[in-house]
Amino acid sequence: MTDPVDVLIVGAGASGAAVAWSLAETRMRIVCLEQGDWMNPAEYPSAGRDWEARAFSDMSISPNRRKRETDYPVNDANSPISVANFNAVGGSTILYAGHFPRFHPSDFRVRTLDGVADDWPIDYRTLEPYYAENDRMMGVSGLAGDPAYPPKESVMPPVPLGRAGQAIAEGFNKLGWHWWPSDTAIATETYDGRDKCINLGACSSGCAQGAKASTDITYWPHAVRAGVEVRTRCRVREITTNGNGMASGVVYYDRDGVEQFQPAEVVIVACNGVGTPRLLLNSTSGRFPNGVANTSGLVGKNLMFHPYASIQGIFDEPLDGYRGPGVCIWSQEFYETDPSRGFVRGYTYEINRGRGPVATALTGMFSGRIPFGEGHHEAYRQLFSRIAGMVGICEDLPEEHNTVTLDPELTDGHGIPAPKIDYTLSENSRRMLDHAVARATEVLTAAGAKDVITEAPIGVGGWHLMGTARMGTDPERSVVNEWGRAHDVKNLFIVDGSIFVTSAGVNPTRTIQALALYIADSMKKRLANLFD
C-alpha cells in the first residue's frame, strides 16, 4: 500500500489537468494516476517525413488501430461511429484539432426550449467565469464579437483565414449565412512558454511546435510546479469503498504491472465518456453490486457522440492544401432549433483547410475520382491542394439505449474488461446530418466548388464521448449532483464529459474543462463540509 493522499485523480487529460491545477492551491496532497506516458513532442509525426502515415498507425485516433501498450481496446462493433481517444498525459488533447467553441446559453436549457432531453442543473452564466479562466490557461485564439455568442474575449488573434477560409467565407456571404473565425486552442503568438503556430498542418497527430494547447504543456507544468504528483503508466482497475459507503482509494497496476492500492480521502474520476463508466462499472462491491455510484442505473447509459458529416469541395484553384491548422472558421447558421427543418436542435460547421498529399490520394482513389493506373497523375493534380470543405458537428440527444458496458470477453493488457459500445444513430441525427450535407453543398457551390465529396456519419469520428454519468439534482435520474459529486458516494467526484446532460452541437473540450474548474471551485468553497 502506498501512502494515503488527500486527492486522487484518475486520468491526466483535459479535465484531470484542469481540476488538479485548480485544487493545487489548497496545498492538499494530490496524486494523478495516468495509464499513458508523458509525450515527447520532438517525436510527433510532423517532425518526420512519414507524418501522414503515422496517423494510420501509432498516432491513429483509434485505440484499436494504435494498439499502444498504454491503450485499452474498445469493442465498438455495434456502433456506426467508432471511438477516438488518446491515452497519455494530456489525454485526447494530444490529438485533438484544437477546435475550441463554448456551449451556447440555449444548450443548457434543451428541455425548456425544445421539449427534449433534460435541462442542465447549471447554466451558461454559471460556467462563464470558468470558461474565461480556462481560456487563459489554455491560451485561446479567436476574434471577439461573434454574433452567435454572448460577448467573450479572446486571448490571442485568430488563426489566418488562408485561401481556403477566404473562399468558403465568400460562399457563406453569398448566401447571407453566419460565419466567424473559429476559437482555437492554438497559440497564434508566443504564450505561456509555448511557441506560436507555424502552420505545420498536422495538429491531429500532436503539435511538434507546442503551439496547440494540449494539457501536458498548459495545465500540467503549472500543476506539477504547485506540488501535484503525476504517476504515469498507472492503470486504475477499480475504485474501492469502505463500510460507510465512502471511496477509500483505488486499485491500480503500476508501470511494472504490480497491483497497488492507493488510499485517498477524495477520488476524482477524469477518464471521459467511455473510460469513466468503464471504471465505475468495474468497481463492484456488496454495497454497489452494479458498479460504484450506480444506484440510478444510469452509469454507462445515454452515451452521446457528435455525429459528423463531412462535406468537401473540389476547387479549380489551389487553396491551402497540407498547410496550416485544420481549424479555420465556423458557421452556426443552423445551430438553434427551427421546426421547419424536421429535426430539433442543430449543428456547427467547422471549415477544414485542406489535406495532405497522401490523404488527397486516398480520398481521390477511394471515391473513384483518381483512377488506378492510367490517368492517375493527371487526376491527382486536379485534387492536390484543391480540396477544402467542412464538417457538420451535430448535437446528439441522450438516449438510454446508447451504452457503454463491460465487454464479457475482451480485456486490456492487465485483464481489465474492455468497454463495449452499443450505439444507434437516431432519426433526429440522421435528418440533421442530411440537412448539414445539403446546406454545406450549397455553400461550397457558392464558393466555387465544382464537385463535392460527402460522408455522413464519419465512421471513425467518435471524438466526443459524453453523457454516461450525467449530472442532475435527482439521484434517480442522474449520477452526480450539480457540482460533480456522486449522489451515492460523497467523496467521489466526476469532472469529465461523462457528466454532460446534453451534448450541444460543438466540440466539448472547452466545456469539459470549464466544468472541471467549476467543480474544483465548488469543492474548495466546501472544504470544511465537503462530505455533508
Partner: protein
C-alpha cells in the same frame, strides 16, 4: 527482385512479385510529370517495410489478387498487362477485401513522401516541422456583412 528490398521481411518471393506488380499498376511512372512508379526500387522497399506489421492482412489480399487473376484470365497476376492489373486492384479495393485497401493505403503513404514525387508537386521534400509553412491572413473585411446582420444566438 530489386536489391534494395530487405531480405528480412516476411513477404515471400511470390508475394513480393505480386505486390510489386500491383503497386506499379496502381501508380505507374509518368514521363509527363517526371515521376517514378510505385514499383520504383526505393518506393517499393519503403512499401514492403511499411507493410511488415500488416503482413497477415496484406498476404491474404495478395492471395486474393492472384486468385482473381487466375479466375478471370487464367494467368499469374504479374503476367497481366498494367491496365488489367490496375482494374483488378480497383475492383478489389471496392469489395469486401479490406487487405487490398490496406495495401493501396500503404502504397499512397510511401509514394507521396518520396522526394521526387514531392518535388513534382511543388513541395519541398521535408517534414512540416521545424520550418512550417506560410498561410495568408486573408481578407478580414469579409466579416462586415456578418457583423451587420447582428446577434443570432438565443438568449435564455
Amino acid at each position: 527482385m530489386p536489391d534494395t528490398i530487405a531480405t528480412d521481411n516476411p513477404f515471400t518471393a511470390d508475394e513480393q512479385r505480386t505486390l510489386l506488380a500491383l503497386v506499379g499498376a496502381v501508380i505507374p511512372a509518368s514521363a509527363e510529370f517526371g515521376t517514378p512508379g510505385a514499383d520504383d526500387p526505393a518506393i517499393a522497399a519503403d512499401i514492403l517495410a511499411t507493410a511488415r506489421p500488416y503482413h497477415a492482412t496484406v498476404a491474404i489480399a495478395l492471395d486474393q489478387i492472384e486468385s482473381t487473376a487466375a479466375k478471370r484470365y487464367d494467368a499469374a497476376y504479374s503476367d497481366l498487362d498494367a491496365s488489367t492489373r490496375a482494374g483488378i486492384a480497383s475492383d478489389l479495393s471496392r469489395s469486401r477485401f479490406a487487405g487490398v485497401r490496406t495495401l493501396v493505403t500503404i502504397t499512397a503513404q510511401c509514394y507521396y513522401r518520396d522526394d521526387r514525387v514531392m518535388r513534382s508537386l511543388g513541395m519541398a521534400p521535408r517534414s512540416p516541422y521545424p520550418d512550417g509553412f506560410d498561410i495568408p491572413q486573408g481578407d478580414w473585411s469579409l466579416l462586415e456583412p456578418v457583423r451587420q446582420r447582428g446577434r443570432i444566438y438565443k438568449e435564455v
